[in-house]
Amino acid sequence: MLSGKERTYVEHRLEKAPTGIRGFDEITQGGLPKGRTALVTGGPGTGKTMFAMEFLVKGATEFGEPGVFVSFEETADELIANSASLGLSLPELCDANLLYMDYVRVERSEIEESGEYDLEGLFIRLSHAINTVGARRLVLDTIETLFSGLSNVSILRAELRRLFRWLKDKNISTIVTGERGAESLTREGLEEYVSDCVILLDHRVTDQVSTRRLRVLKYRGSEHGTNEYPFLISDRGFMVLPITSVKLDYAVGEERVSSGIPRLDAMLGGKGFYRGSLILVSGTAGTGKTTVAASFADAACRRGEKTMYFAFEESAQQVVRNMRSIGLDLEQWTGKGILKIVGQRPTIHGLEHHLMSMQFMIDDFRPTTVVVDPVTNLSQVGSLRDVRLMLSRLVDYLKARNITILFTSLTQGGTDAELTDVGISSLADSWMKLQNLEAGGERNRGISILKSRGMSHSNQVREFLLTDQGIDLVDTYTGPEGVLAGSARVAREDDERAQEAALRLEIERLEEDRKKRRALLEDQITRLRSEYESAEKELEGRIRLEKLKMETIFRKRKEMGTSRKAET
């Protein structure tokens, strides 16, 4: 019953023309409506032209569908130059007859209208262009320019209606671009003609950081994501970032990976973290977050696993140098190409840009472990909410690829250390807190596990020592003054050692005593026994003697009686 329903649904599903734009085909479940017209609208500089150009170029190069670009604003040369900055080589495509560009210049000052006319000239040009390359795709960028060049609006409107119908009949997948008006989607109300699919591009600048966003306003006959999706225009082209995270359905494994700190592994049920989980290391400044992160990265490299380290505070060289001081040689891994350290200031990009460029680097490098140190620095370029959203996207992206992630998070001194600045702790599978244990006039580092999903873990605070051989964890002491660490711990350890020695001595002494006493008593026992034995012998002799005497008396008495012939 259900499967039958599903089948008809699939049969009637709208055919799509894939755009090849990374992310976009995911949110629209396949691309733009095939053989129909889509409207791409947005303010100036929002990337409409680039979106449209990418649609044509990908169509020509990846999907075997040649295209025609009709520009009403930019000349072919300008388009070629602009597209080159996106890594698109238009002249090659034109030479290969996969792309046809036509620049339509509408200059009002040159044109005078006299009597009735139609736009058949435009139709002929389109049809000529389409036939020349056998186009299946078309872009009109932006046809609204006609309204500024021609004054007879009623003719224009009628002709546009005819044009869109004509394109539909020709079964050409078309993008028309429009400039967003003050109160309407497009200045001239193009949305009135294009009813199948409307895409809105937006470009906002908040706190001097720009973010681009895309939204599918309408998609007749198709499901589509309705959120605003951030996008990026870079030398790799136009890319949309879908929130794939809505589903929490990544495969989870049982495999565990070492933290690089044996004692910490022991605290984590003896085996370390789960592969593909998110580990959060939070702490105030100078508590050793980077060191924990680097040890983790080092351990991954040691296993021969590719690791990517995003350093938002330090340069790559600085990380390498600092880690050398605790005996971690990261350079050997970078040299072998197992480790890649990317040092960059968060402020160079907006959040989306960061997220995407991180994703692309990850895609290129294909690591199994990713470290971001610290994620909290990203809050310089976005609101808490945005950072949180961005990080959850990044986490989902990585988890879907079973990549183990370690984030460090800087907590501000004075605030509750268990509140991470970007509120990502709920995302974390394992959360370690590094803290300063301040007592007795010194600061010492402590580490504890706040949570670690799906494994038994220690509840102890351990002292965290940075030695020139890496990190060592030692037990801390809890006394009436609180947790003892550092010299207080050392003093306490000395005390305990002395006590132990004293006890050991006492035990030895007692043992000796026991032995002595035993020997003494055993001696006495032997002596007494021999005394007893000799006394016994003497007594036995006397008994025998007395018995003999008695027998003699009896015998004599009997003999005497016989001789007297006594009457018995």
């Binding site: 009597g115 006319y117 000239g121 049809s127 000529h128």
Partner: protein
């Protein structure tokens, strides 16, 4: 406004002197789409204007862009019919069936014959 007109008249007079009294030639090209009613009307209207006002000093070429679509791109034609005045400069385009003769005459800067 009036001043501008004066200056225009002055310039024209000056140019006339420069040309040594020789008449300005008009090079016109009319882009049509086959024999649609609008095309036919435009051809008829233009011929009449030329015969009345530019007799003997114009060249007219009628281009059917159905037959030669590449010429539509070359001349940047979108609307049809379109009349292009190539000479004298500046280049001007008139779109429509040219039913308003006075407007065309004015736009082409032709001194109408009373």
């Amino acid at each position: 406004m009036a001043k501008k007109k004066d200056s225009e008249i002055a310039t024209e007079a000056f140019e006339k002197v420069l040309r040594g009294g020789q008449e300005q030639r008009y090079v016109l090209r009319l882009y049509v789409t086959g024999s649609t009613p609008k095309s036919a009307r435009a051809i008829r209207n233009l011929r009449r204007i030329c015969e009345e006002h530019l007799k003997g000093k114009y060249e007219l070429e009628v281009v059917d862009i159905y037959q030669q679509p590449e010429l539509a791109q070359e001349a940047d034609i979108i609307a049809t019919p379109t009349l292009v005045k190539k000479l004298p400069l500046p280049l001007r385009k008139f779109i429509g069936d040219l039913s308003d003769a006075d407007q065309v005459i004015k736009g082409m800067n032709i001194t109408p014959k009373s």
